[in-house]
């Protein structure tokens, strides 16, 4: 190790010893992190990638259209209809593929909106810490006191269950959780001297939010994004199962389970028929588990709670 002294013996500030991390490109960093990922995380990432591929290329992968009606209702599994057809004679396999696109798409849009609303309000509340914080926090407390599924059902029956309404209502209800988390983690950053320094400089609220605080609270927010996505996804599936979610003829896993639920009673005659409603349910479960695996790993990576031994 070298000393902070120059050859002539005088003190020099720039020679003080510090460790400068190697500069790596973003790709190199991602690769370094991926190399250490445990098998569960790999499993999760592969599953998520598969789902996304299916969702993106649904029209290319599906043998039939999602609303295309064939003459044969309740057709058994066959080469033409891989998973049979439903009560109206629509191909279940094609609807499963389109369902990925619709369900995941709406869930992602809803989660993004929830973060936009909850995140920005949470940051604002944390920075201002005055009446605005009080008003927002108490309002959120009130919203959270009402069971969200029942509340969503009520709102959907008031406003009608279109996809747009669905996204907005669930986003607002989930934004309450995002608000709480953002506010809590931002409060730890707001008290830092560098935020005070920015205020003293005369910086505006948006700049402080975006440049000083947001970069420092990203890890918990990203993890929460994964978890929140799972909950939104499950809520939408549940609402669809109850018949107020995504409306027919749009294919969606929740409503597919409901539409074909009656087939379970035929298990003793045709096992494959009974499996038909299970498959969209399994698709929902698998994605939720996969996202959770990845979030777990990510949290472990960023929390710093690693055993150094």
């Amino acid at each position: 190790m070298n000393t902070p002294n120059t050859p002539d013996g005088s003190y020099s500030a720039s020679n003080e010893v510090t460790q400068v991390k190697a500069r790596r490109s973003v790709l190199q960093n991602i690769w370094r992190t991926l190399k250490t990922a445990p098998p569960t995380a790999w499993f999760g990432m592969i599953v998520i990638t598969l789902y996304l591929t299916v969702a993106l290329f649904a029209p290319l992968l599906a043998p039939h259209g999602q609303a295309q009606v064939f003459t044969m209702a309740y057709a058994p599994w066959s080469d033409e209809f891989l998973l049979g057809t439903d009560a109206l004679g629509r191909d279940v396999f094609s609807r499963l593929i389109y369902g990925a696109r619709n369900t995941i798409g709406i869930a992602v849009a809803t989660t993004l909106l929830a973060f936009l609303i909850g995140g920005s309000l949470g940051l604002m509340a944390a920075i201002s810490r005055n009446w605005l914080d009080q008003v927002l926090s108490r309002f959120v407390d009130v919203l959270m006191a009402i069971p969200s599924l029942i509340f969503a059902l009520m709102l959907l029956s008031i406003f009608g269950s279109s996809a747009i309404n669905l996204i907005f209502i669930i986003a607002v209800l989930d934004a309450t959780r995002v608000f709480r988390l953002t506010r809590a983690v931002a409060l730890n950053v707001v008290v830092m001297d560098y935020v005070e320094a920015a205020k003293l400089r005369g910086e505006g609220l948006v700049w402080i939010m975006r440049r000083e605080i947001l970069p420092n609270i990203m890890p918990p927010l990203v993890a929460e994004f994964g978890l929140r996505f799972c909950f939104v996804f499950l809520t939408i599936a549940a609402l669809s199962f109850l018949g107020v979610g995504i409306q027919p003829p749009t294919a969606d896993w929740g409503s597919m389970v409901r539409e074909n639920a009656g087939l379970i009673q035929f298990a003793e005659y045709d096992l494959t028929a009974a499996l038909t409603p299970m498959i969209p349910a399994a698709a929902i479960a698998l994605l939720t588990v996969a996202v959770n695996f990845v979030v777990d790993w990510f949290l472990h990576q960023t929390s710093g709670l690693r055993d150094e031994h």
């Binding site: 500030a13 720039s14 001297d193 440049r211 000083e212």
Partner: protein
């Protein structure tokens, strides 16, 4: 072994630490010999390895560190050969540890007495009742107020100095043979430090306990230790009995350790006033009055030092000047015109002309911004500089603070403590201010780095004519940098005047207490002070 009464022998101890994907040598072969009842002072700057060595004396290595060589023998036991369960039995019974931050080491949910005796009872050294009686006895020895009942309080109900003494009681409760004190008074005010030092010394002498006293303050260690070992970069620089070390330090590095104490700014004639604080009152919330009728005048182009212990209101004064805490009464005149009370009512130009530098450079810079972002922002914000013009100005500023362009794209955690503080200074300078408020800017830094920062600030003042308000509790720093001094106590101004005037007797009672509490390099200083204060009381 026991013939020469040696308690602890460390031979050629080497410790490695893991960081940034590599193992680094932290301790590179250090020998320590400690006799029963002796106190060894370990001194050095941060990163010298003194805490690591102190922990190694317990046979312990922090997570991320490992002891790779040498031998550590405690009272005939080879510590490196023990299992972790055996080591645990030794810790807290025969070897104890007193940490720097007492507040962080106590569990806020339990009473002090229960925590004091916990390890003694757990190790089966004494039963509950005996341990409790003994703890009260120790509290009395440590001159804690109301020793019978103080143990019933919770950690937040006592002051920092009292908490540090309770921690000493906790360490003493098992009557260990060896105590490691790791910077126990660094976080305390000078006036409190004296009390804690006295109490610690008394109790260690009374029970004839051997101790390793870790600190970066040579004057403090001079009061406590029989021998002093100076460490740097994990190696021994110098090793000598205290008196010898103080009177004739051999190594150049040891001499440089008290360089700040030699700095002294020559007095300068007073000029016109840049900032005037007139009869200002301020408080947090409605009840607690923190500033009570403060009147301070700041001369242009000079340094005004505000001294006082924590809670005296000196940082609050800074918050009022910057507008973070609007005053309740009184006015603040800047260049003759009144500053609006609240931050949001001040113009950009008013904000620009008063800048602030913080004590903890770590928290004063956003860890996700590079040096370029940090210095560039005020340039862009106040002066509208962008692109190449901005980069050029950043370079000039870096040169001004004696750093070079290789720092441009570094993040704060890639800078040393001194470099961080320099970047903070550059950020303040970037705004081209008339007045900079420095809030304890050197108190978190090592002596040699402190000297560098103070010299830099003095040079900048000479070249750019900036006025400083320098908030500090360190009298040596005041001597080094101030022209004018304000002494504050409990939200009031005790005294204001030229440096010479303040530091010449007769003093008001509080100034006297403050000045006399600053440790001096003389090993007999604490003993003499104790006698003087005892006589004064009698």
């Amino acid at each position: 072994m026991s013939t020469d009464n040696v308690l602890l022998t460390m031979r050629d101890v080497r410790i490695d630490g893991y960081s940034d994907d590599r193992w680094h040598h932290i301790i590179k072969g250090v020998d320590v010999t400690l006799k029963r009842g002796e106190i060894l002072g370990l001194i050095g700057e941060s990163g010298a390895g003194k805490s690591t060595l102190g922990l190694a004396a317990m046979g312990f290595a922090r997570p991320g560190c490992k002891i790779v060589g040498g031998s550590i023998e405690f009272d005939g036991i080879d510590l490196l050969g023990l299992s972790s369960a055996e080591l645990r039995r030794l810790h807290g019974s025969r070897i104890a540890y007193v940490a720097q931050s007492a507040a962080a080491s106590f569990n806020p949910a339990h009473r002090l007495l229960d925590q004091t005796i916990e390890s003694t009872v757990a190790h089966g050294i004494a039963d509950l009742e005996t341990a409790k009686q003994d703890a009260i006895e120790l509290y009395r020895d440590l001159q804690l107020p109301d020793p019978e009942n103080i143990g019933q309080r919770y950690p937040h109900q006592v002051s920092g100095g009292q908490l540090q003494r309770v921690m000493t009681a906790m360490a003493m409760s098992s009557r260990p043979d060896l105590i490691i004190f790791d910077e126990p008074t660094t976080a305390l005010d000078v006036t409190t430090q004296v009390e804690v030092l006295t109490a610690m010394r008394t109790i260690v002498e009374k029970y004839n306990t051997a101790a390793i006293y870790i600190t970066h303050d040579l004057a403090v260690v001079a009061q406590m230790a029989d021998d002093i070992k100076v460490l740097r970069y994990g190696e021994t620089v110098e090793d000598a009995p205290t008196r010898e070390m103080i009177s004739s330090p051999k190594a150049a590095y040891t001499q440089s350790l008290w360089a700040v104490r030699a700095l002294a700014k020559p007095p300068q004639p007073a000029l016109d006033t840049i900032l005037e604080i007139n009869q200002v009152h301020a408080s947090y919330g409605k009840s607690v009055k923190v500033l009570n009728d403060i009147t301070i005048k700041v001369p242009r182009g000079q340094t005004l030092a505000v001294v006082g212990e924590s809670g005296s209101g000196k940082s609050t004064a800074a918050r009022v000047i910057t507008g973070l805490l609007p005053q309740l009464e009184g006015e603040i005149l800047f260049n003759g015109s009144a500053l609006p009370r609240a931050l949001k009512n001040r113009s950009k130009q008013q904000l620009q002309s008063i800048q602030m530098i913080y004590q903890m450079a770590d928290t004063a810079m956003n860890p996700r911004h590079t040096v370029r972002d940090i210095i560039g922002r005020p340039l862009n914000f106040y002066l509208g500089l962008t692109g190449a013009a901005q980069d050029q100005r950043i370079m000039q500023l870096l040169q001004l603070i004696e750093l070079d362009e290789s720092f441009l794209d570094r993040y704060p955690d890639e800078l040393s403590g001194g470099q961080k503080q320099r970047i903070c200074i550059a950020r303040a300078l970037a705004a081209e201010p008339e007045l900079i408020i420095c809030d304890e800017v050197t108190s978190a830094l090592d002596q040699i780095v402190q000297e560098g920062i103070l010299k830099l600030l003095l040079r900048l003042q000479k070249e750019l004519g900036i006025t400083y308000i320098f908030i500090t509790h360190d009298i040596a720093t005041v001597r080094a940098i101030a022209d004018q001094v304000v002494v504050m106590f409990q939200g009031k101004v005790v005294e204001q005047g030229g440096k010479e005037e303040i530091f010449t007797p007769p003093y008001p009672a509080y100034t006297e207490l403050l000045l006399s509490s600053v440790p001096e390099m003389d090993p007999d200083w604490l003993t003499q002070l104790q006698q003087q204060r005892a006589e004064a009381e009698a």
